[in-house]
Symmetry: C2
């Protein structure tokens, strides 16, 4: 199988590439502008002749189209990874989100790449802490431009599948964690504590409660239907059943870093930033009905990721 | 009240302008690129000094921002009006839809225009003829890029309202009809029968069943909350309770044009074009709970519009 991964140098894209390359029948093209992608994400993959790296921007539909020729499946991860950034850069999720999805789906149509895997997120359920969302609880009232951009990608992929014969799957991720992550709450805590191991200030009051899922479980799901899509268009939630609070994560990071007497300073707001959804619960029941099941719960996923990130930080990869 | 209407020379936009100008306290700015907008839509409004017309494109966010300064409310109707066009121009609903919404909401944020009225459509419910949709049945699986673009506008307006303190309302229109319309099934039938009064060929098998609503009832709803929005963000369906088939509309047009012995040739497909939703039922119960009620049912709306369109065609306005 010849796969092209848009945003393939990013955290999730590079893990997806690594798994695909484990099968010697597969070839992988990485398409990334390396704005949040990292060369070290791909380092261990470069020994194979079956990887091709294109440094270019998905804002350029012609470059995308040229790169996509001859592939059978496209994985679309290209996106602004920083949900909080829109508070100061309000158009970022359009130009580094919605527009990229338009370009990826259009390039797939133009080149006849039939299968498209799209990375969406749980923000598409909106902000309703009293509800446990299932796959059909798509909301018209997301609270961030990031989530609106993810929702726009889903509806566009559905339309392209319906009108132009593409096959698409949207996956709504919980917060994805893993040793290679370059954003996220534990990543931030580790970096701050390396600079100042005495004090940790936390965005929000620490009660924010979310699900965290290990990237290995995400990748398993992303490749689950690669040989036979279950429908012209489909959508799945990917999450663990348990959740962690920000306070639990802070304590876990401090403990795994072997620090003592850290003063943790919590804010007063119930959320970390404008547009944040501080409490979210949703189920992956549809994907589980197909036999997928995460191998780590949120606590195990978070602990494994924290240990991996501490190792990577010690290797100087985060500088 | 100073209102700016993006797409204000179009069918619905110009009717909205006319109603606003009935109140001598109101001033209206029309912002339109006149691609589907028409000068004759505005002709009767030009006698007042309270209208200002700006010919420019909503793809230009700087031009929009400049035009929007000093207004209190923005009505956003700018959109490719031809749902079928994407079959041959797949990116049209992005560049003449999704992008325009991004620009309108961003210009409103930049200029501090707090109130935004957004024209969405029933395509956001997807294609499920067995269901009667209510306001919360927002679907992640629209079947056309037109509908995906409308959905993207809704989620973006919700996000902008949540993050940047704007007040937004999305209205999902049934098929809007009126004497000034320049698209739509009855409009097409009238124009074809004027060219050839003996034969009428119909896209699809004629069983397509949809709700039609008169533009006067739409405008009443659009202005319903202009002085006090009911929430930072809200969304309403606007439809009649009854539906018409395409076959009924063909017969009505033929009868109103006074034609006889017209051979009506139906196609074999159950829908008119790729991406069409041939049977759709939804309710306007949320808007009705606020006291709004359409003054014409679908049949009355369609008949009044056909009569008006025949008059306009006889005046040469459709050439």
């Amino acid at each position: 199988m010849k796969a092209i991964i848009i945003g393939g140098a990013g955290f999730i894209g590079s893990c997806c590439a690594a798994r695909l390359l484990e099968d010697s029948q597969n070839r992988v093209t990485i398409f990334d502008n390396f704005s949040s992608g990292r060369h070290w994400h791909l380092e261990t993959l470069l020994s194979t002749q079956r990887i091709n790296i294109i440094k270019n921007d998905a804002q350029d539909v012609n470059a995308l189209t040229e790169a996509m020729h001859g592939h059978e499946i496209v994985f679309h991860f290209a996106s602004n990874p920083d949900i909080a950034k829109a508070a100061t850069e309000p158009t970022i999720d359009f130009y580094q989100g919605t527009l990229l999805s338009q370009n990826v789906f259009e390039a797939a149509r133009l080149t006849g790449v039939e299968k498209i895997i799209y990375a969406s997120g749980s923000g598409i359920f909106g902000d309703n802490p009293s509800k446990v969302f299932n796959e059909d609880d798509f909301s018209s009232t997301p609270t961030s431009t990031y989530a609106a951009s993810k929702a726009a990608g889903e509806t566009l992929l559905s339309a392209y599948s319906s009108m132009f014969g593409l096959h698409g799957i949207s996956y709504r991720f919980a917060n994805v964690v893993g040793p290679h992550q370059t954003h996220g709450v534990a990543f931030d805590f580790i970096n701050r504590l390396r600079k100042n191991p005495h004090t940790l200030s936390v965005l929000g009051d620490g009660t924010q409660t979310k699900s965290y899922i290990h990237v290995d479980d995400i990748v398993t799901a992303l490749l689950y239907f690669k040989d036979a899509f279950p429908a012209p268009y489909n959508y799945f939630n990917l999450t663990t059943d348990d959740t962690l609070t920000v306070k639990q994560i802070a304590e876990l990071v401090i403990s795994e870093m072997g620090l003592q007497d850290v003063v943790v300073q919590y804010g007063s707001a119930d959320r970390g930033w404008s547009g944040d959804v501080p409490r979210i619960r949703f189920t992956a029941s549809k994907m589980k009905a197909y036999g997928w099941c995460p191998q780590r719960n949120a606590l195990e996923a978070m602990r494994a990721s924290i240990r991996g990130m501490i190792d990577n930080a010690n290797k100087g990869l985060f500088e």
